[in-house]
Amino acid sequence: MAQYVGRRLLLLVPVILGILLVTFLMKALIPTDAVTAMYQGQLSGKSAEKAIAALQAKYHLDLPWYRQLWFYLSDLAHGNLGESVRLHKPVSAVIGYRYLNTIMLTGAALAIALVLGLTTGIVAAAKRNTWLDVTATTIGLFGISMPAFFFGLLLILVFSVWLRILPVVPHGPLAIVLPAFALGIIEAAPLSQVTRSSMIDVMRRDYIQAARARGASELALTIRHALPNALIVVLTIVGLQIGNLLGGAFIVETIFSWHGIGELAVNAIQWRDFALTQAIILVSAATYLMVNLVADLLYAWLDPRVELTA
C-alpha cells in the first residue's frame, strides 16, 4: 500500500515535467509575451523600447525557451512559482486564497452532484421503466447537453432576477449557492445514469435474490445489500468528475465572479501572463492527479478484489 502510494507520487514528477516541457515548447512558437501584450500600442520611441527590453530581461523573457524552462525549474525547486508580470506580485501570493475558493466551490458542487445523482439514480433503478424512470433519464440527457455557462445564467435569471432570493454578486455566505448548483447539477446527470445502470446490474445478482428469499424488505435490499456494491462502479467515475468540476469551475467562476483560480486563469491568459497561467495549470494538474490517487485508493478499499499496481 505505502509502496503503491509512493510509486504513484513519484509518477507525478514526469507528468509535471512533461506538462512544463510541452507548454514551454509551444510558448517558443509564439512571439508575444506578457510585457509586449501589456504595453502594446501604448508606448513608442527609443526609451520605451529600452524599458520594455529591461522588463523582458527581468522576467527572462528575452532568453531562448530552454533557458527559460531551466530558470523556471530551478525557481520551482526552491518553491518559487515566479512573479506575475501583470500584477507585480509573487504568483503564490495571488493563487493562495483563490485556490481555497475553488476547492470550496468544487467541494460544494460535488456534494450536490452526489446527493442528486445518487438519489435519482437509485429511484430510477428501483422504479425501472415507469414514468419516473423515463422522466429522470430524459432530464439527465438534457442535463448532459446543457452548457454550464448557460445553466449558470438561467439560475441567475430565475433566483436573482425573477425571484430575488439569492445574490448575484459574491457577497455573504449565500454567495456559494448558485455557482455550486450550476456546477453540481450538470455533473449529477452522468452520475445518475451510472448509478441507475449499476444498480440495475447489481439487483439482478444471485445474492440479492437470496436476500429477498430470506424475507428482506425491498428498501433494505436496495439500500443495505445492493447500494454498497453499486457504489464501487460509481466511485470510478467520481474521480473523473472531479476533473470535470475543476474544469467547469473555470467557466462557472467567470459567470458568478467567484474569485477562484478558474476566473484568474481566464484573465491570466488574456493578459498573456505566462508565469501565472503556468502556475495555475500546474496546481490544477497536481490537484487532479492527487484526487485520482485518492479515488483509486478508495476503490481498492471498497472492493478487496482490486489489486493496486502502478
Binding site: V15, I19, L154, R272, S284
Partner: protein, 290 residues
C-alpha cells in the same frame, strides 16, 4: 443475391441499410437526426432563411422584445437575434467538423500505430498519451489557448488536440483485440503487406466503436469550444457564435432575458440532438451497451 447450393433465396442486406433501418426504429435517434438535419439546412441556406443581416446594427430597436418583425427580439445593439441564431449554426457545425476532424484523424493514427506497431512505438506513444490524459480536458484546452492566444481557430484547434488522447486510447485497445482475430492471421498468411493489413483489414473493423465515440465526443467538444467563446477565449464578438453571443447579452439579463435564452437554448437543443443521435448509434453499432 442468391447463394449457390441453397434452394431458398438469401437476401443480403447491405450494412448501411441495416444500420439505417435500426436507426429509423429508434424514435429518439430520429429526433436527433432531424435536429441535425435542420442545423445543416439552416447553415447551408442561412442567407435565404435569415430575415436580416446578422451584423446589421439598429440602435433604435436595441433590446426589443420578441415580435412579428423580430421573431426572438434584438440584442444590445439592435441586431436581429433570429438571424444571428441562424447564422450561428454555421459556426456550430464548423466547430463540430474541425474539432472532430483534428481529434479523430490524429487520435486514430496514433492508436493504430500504437496498437499494431512494435512495443517500443507503443510504449512511446502511450506514455505521451498518459501525460496528456493526466490533466483535465479543459486544462489542456487552456494550455493551447494560453500559448497561441485567444481566437476561434486556436479555440477549435485546442479542443481538437485535447480530444486526441481519448481517440488514441480507444483505437489502440480495439486494434489489440482485432489483431488477434483469425481473419487478420489469414490476411497475413495470404501475404498482405503490413500497411495493407493495418489500413485494409484492421482499420475497417475499428470503425464501429470509433463512430460511436465520435458521436459522443463531438457534442462535448462543441460545448467546450462555445464555453471558450463565452469566457472570451474563442470566437470573438461580433461573430454570431452562440457562446460569444452570450458574452455581451448577459449584461442585459435583467432587462432582456431573451437575448440570453435564445443562443443558450439553440446550443442546448443542438447538443441534445447530437447526444440522442449518439445514443441511437450506440444501440445499433454496439449492441453490448444497449
Amino acid at each position: 443475391m442468391t447463394v449457390a447450393g441453397f434452394d431458398e433465396e438469401i437476401t443480403v442486406i447491405p450494412r448501411w441499410r441495416r444500420i439505417g433501418g435500426h436507426m429509423l426504429q429508434s424514435r429518439a435517434a430520429c429526433v436527433g437526426a432531424t435536429i441535425l438535419l435542420i442545423l445543416f439546412v439552416l447553415a447551408l441556406f442561412a442567407p435565404w432563411i435569415a430575415p436580416y443581416d446578422p451584423f446589421k446594427i439598429d440602435p433604435i430597436h436595441r433590446l426589443a422584445a420578441p415580435s412579428a418583425a423580430h421573431w426572438i427580439g434584438t440584442d444590445e445593439v439592435g441586431r436581429d437575434l433570429a438571424s444571428r441564431i441562424i447564422y450561428g449554426t454555421r459556426y456550430f457545425l464548423l466547430i463540430c467538423l474541425v474539432t472532430a476532424a483534428i481529434s479523430s484523424s490524429i487520435g486514430t493514427l496514433l492508436g493504430l500505430l500504437a496498437g499494431a506497431g512494435s512495443p517500443l512505438v507503443d510504449g512511446v506513444i502511450m506514455r505521451f498519451i498518459d501525460i496528456l490524459l493526466a490533466f483535465p480536458y479543459i486544462l489542456m484546452v487552456l494550455v493551447v489557448v494560453a500559448v497561441a492566444g485567444p481566437s476561434l481557430w486556436t479555440g477549435m484547434v485546442a479542443v481538437g488536440i485535447a480530444g486526441i488522447p481519448g481517440y488514441a486510447r480507444l483505437v489502440r485497445s480495439t486494434v489489440l483485440t482485432v489483431r488477434q482475430e483469425d481473419y487478420v492471421t489469414v490476411a497475413r498468411a495470404l501475404g498482405a503487406s503490413r500497411r495493407e493489413i493495418l489500413f485494409g483489414t484492421i482499420l475497417p473493423n475499428v470503425l464501429s466503436p470509433l463512430i460511436v465515440y465520435l458521436a459522443f465526443a463531438t457534442p462535448l467538444s462543441a460545448l467546450i469550444a462555445s464555453a471558450l467563446s463565452f469566457v472570451g477565449l474563442g470566437a470573438q464578438p461580433p461573430a454570431p457564435e452562440w457562446g460569444a453571443m452570450l458574452v455581451n447579452s448577459r449584461t442585459y439579463l435583467f432587462s432582456a432575458w431573451w437575448a440570453v435564452a435564445a443562443p443558450g437554448l439553440a446550443l442546448c437543443i443542438s447538443i441534445f440532438g447530437m447526444n440522442i443521435l449518439g445514443n441511437g448509434l450506440r444501440d445499433v453499432l454496439d449492441p453490448r451497451n444497449a
